[in-house]
């Protein structure tokens, strides 16, 4: 399987084209270097991030069924680059797959657009975050063979984002029990050093940034601080919403937790891109709020830890 060409229907999500444009750009670059062909779903809509489901569950299910149906029209499985998209879409997919009558009911709303979401056979039609695709379909051996600049000595803390680790049953952990250690596997494959710290699978706080700013920023600040204390040179995350709280809000989070922070937070494609030899600038690392210069220096100087 690992040697086959990979071509996927690609849902980039909203934030990767909004406040984290560097994610969308770095994914395109990395996909090309890895030989993953992306067929972008430019007519697809927001996953609702759980917020639309909170308002009207059927609306969220139908909106995501539309995205799935658009992807299925291409004859390809789907890939996303956002833990939140993964979680919100998996939630809808779980309900749609559970019951044919409900699926038919939702598809009725799509019929006017010539669309229909069909439940795949077990593992037949999938929607996977780039992280899952990289490990399960692309393969770590194949990834290792592509590494041009091992991240030797770079100490990387994983940050998953809640939506891609919980609930385990919904997110396919029965079939893929190691999905909560994939970031570690990727970091290791790229030649980096794993930094384990308390916050790796905790909440970045972003969902309540507008509702309870202090709680939200305390979460982000605590995790960044813990990673620094554990010796991390940077964090890596497959979720752009986590990136907003961990990077864009980092100076504000520092005020709430009352300590200096200043830790680079990389998007997963950026970390992969660095190991593939891409220039940090091409990967949009200059757009980050927390400076990535330290990461670049460590890589160019080749200092071992």
């Amino acid at each position: 399987m690992a040697s086959e060409n990979i071509k996927v229907a690609y849902w980039p999500g909203c934030v990767s084209r909004g406040f984290t444009p560097e994610l969308h750009g770095s994914m395109a670059l990395v996909a090309e270097r890895l030989g993953i062909e992306l067929v972008e779903l430019d007519r697809a809509n927001c996953c609702g991030a759980g917020v639309i489901a909170e308002h009207n569950q059927e609306l969220a299910d139908t909106l995501n069924a539309r995205t799935f149906a658009l992807a299925q029209q291409t004859g390809l499985s789907m890939m996303n680059i956002c833990s939140t998209c993964q979680g919100a879409q998996s939630e809808c997919q779980q309900r749609l797959d559970a019951d044919s009558a409900y699926r038919a009911h939702v598809n009725e709303a799509l019929s006017g657009q010539g669309l229909s979401y069909e439940k795949g056979e077990e593992g037949g039609w999938t929607n996977k975050n780039f992280l899952w695709l990289l490990v399960e379909d692309y393969g770590l051996d194949r990834l290792a063979a592509q590494v041009k600049r091992p991240l030797s000595g770079l100490r990387v803390g994983p940050f998953y984002g809640c939506y891609i680790v919980r609930p385990k049953e919904r997110l396919g952990y029965n079939h893929f029990p190691d999905r909560d250690i994939y970031l570690e596997k990727v970091i290791e494959t790229l030649g980096g050093q794993i930094v384990e710290y308390d916050g790796a699978r905790k909440c970045c706080g972003f969902p309540v940034i507008t509702m309870n700013r202090e709680t939200s920023l305390r979460q982000a600040g605590t995790h960044v601080g813990d990673a620094i204390d554990a010796g991390a040179d940077c964090l890596v995350t497959p979720c752009p919403l986590c990136h907003l709280n961990l990077d864009m809000q980092q100076p504000e989070a520092a005020k709430v937790v009352n300590r200096d922070l200043g830790l680079a937070v990389l998007h997963l494609p950026q970390l992969v891109g660095l190991a593939l030899g891409a220039d940090p600038k091409e990967l949009g690392m200059g757009k980050h709020i927390a400076s990535t210069r330290w990461v670049e220096e460590r890589l160019t100087s080749g200092v071992a830890a």
């Binding site: 406040f19 917020v51 308002h55």
Partner: protein, 405 residues
């Protein structure tokens, strides 16, 4: 039989010392529980090891604890699986829990298997009384009482019991499944950052009464839960409580139901949770993808353009976001008009926006909620039911009922 090393976080207040780790070697079948392992250690090695338990069958809810960091019931976690989890994390991270900074006592620390023990801790987000026994009163029960966990019917009580249509009670069976073990409270990442949060157990309990057709103060309850700044809009959607709950209550889902009900009542909350939700929903209807700057503006000051006087909170929040915006402009992250000016964001291309709007129109007339807990998966019984040989109570699909004997 297999040998395991369990590493227990212990604390005895009377000693005047802080908490410490102690390792015990136990010998039991992998299919037995972590609680069985603890009881063996207590029986054979140290009778003073304090653990609360009763039924040992995931019914009473007494033995809430953290196993390898996961909040759960000790009696519902097989010790063999707990060892596999510990091995997996060790292999992935290279970090063993035995490298924790606290001193380790006990003979287990001399043995080979001890470099990767099963780590057992008392529940989180609540004070520890002794070893694995936490103070449920000061957190869990206080929060449960906070939501008025009893029925508030109006009018003269009937002569006999209140009679309800069984169908109307199905919606709350999920929240009624709670056994008050506190595992969700222990796991709550929102409460970890904000101890004032009412929390998953109490809010699930609140939904049990909000959804009860016999209760006459639903609206008052919703106002209370939405208007408390540490209420339903303080949940961060982290799903920890869903994975922690041994009974499938999915407290977070109940919190989202409370938000939906509060929204339907049109309740405005001090956290702008409802405004945020409505802004999000409307933006996707108009644009298909998220206009982040408009979401920020509308979450704090809905319809601000038409208002002469936005609220104090809106002004404060909008001013507070200026430094972040300036930083974003400096690095180029936000250097484009649609990101800076609310409402400039593009629509979906080529008529796709009309398709999204058609979906909105359809869903508004239905707003169906499909509850997997109640309906189950088509054509197959939930695992638990197969184990117990129980027939599903609601018989959603014909096949299921016939398979369930």
């Amino acid at each position: 039989m297999a040998e395991y090393t369990i590493k227990v976080r212990r604390f005895q207040p009377e000693s005047g010392e802080g908490p410490y780790w102690e390792q015990f070697n136990v010998d039991l079948d992998p299919s037995l529980s972590v609680l069985d392992g603890l009881l063996q250690a207590k029986d054979k090695e140290d009778g003073s090891l304090a653990v609360r338990c009763s039924c040992r069958a995931a019914i009473c809810g007494s033995c809430g604890m953290k196993v390898n960091g996961q909040s759960t019931l000790g009696c519902k976690t097989q010790i063999g699986e707990a060892q596999e989890q510990a091995d997996k994390m060790k292999a992935a991270t290279g970090v063993s829990a035995a490298e924790a900074d606290s001193p380790i006592r006990g003979e287990g620390s001399d043995l080979g298997s001890a470099d990767n023990p099963i780590v057992i801790e008392p529940m989180g987000n609540m004070p520890v009384i002794k070893d694995l026994i936490t103070d449920m009163e000061s957190t869990h029960w206080t929060k449960i009482r906070r939501v008025t966990p009893w029925l508030l019917p109006h009018g003269e009580p009937p002569e006999r019991e209140y009679v309800v249509d069984p169908e109307s009670m199905i919606d709350i069976t999920q929240s009624m499944a709670c056994i008050q073990c506190g595992a969700c409270v222990s796991s709550c990442l929102s409460m970890e950052a904000d101890p004032g949060f009412i929390g998953p157990a109490a809010l699930a309990k609140a939904y049990r009464f909000v959804g009860d057709p016999r209760d006459a103060e639903t609206e008052e309850r919703l106002h209370d839960l939405a208007e408390d700044p540490h209420g339903i809009y303080d949940c961060t959607h982290c799903f920890s409580c869903i994975d922690a709950c041994p009974k499938g209550v999915a407290p977070m889902d109940q919190i989202m139901r409370l938000r939906r009900r509060a929204g339907e009542e049109g309740i405005e909350d001090p956290n702008s949770g409802h405004d945020h939700e409505m802004a999000f929903v409307k933006i996707i209807e108009k644009k298909g993808t998220l206009d982040e700057s408009l979401l920020l503006q509308e979450s704090f000051a809905p319809g601000v353009k038409g208002k002469l006087k936005p609220s104090k909170r809106a002004i404060k929040e909008m001013l507070g976001s200026i430094p972040t915006a300036i930083r974003g402009i400096k690095t180029g992250k936000m250097r484009s008009l649609p990101k800076l000016i609310p409402g400039v964001h593009h629509k979906l291309p080529g008529g796709a926006q009309d398709d999204v709007q058609a979906i909105y129109r359809h869903a508004e007339t239905h707003n169906e909620e499909f509850n997997l807990y109640i309906k189950g998966e088509e054509g197959e019984l939930a695992e638990d039911d197969v184990e117990k040989g129980i027939e599903r109570s609601t018989e959603p699909a014909g096949q299921e009922a016939s398979n369930g004997q």
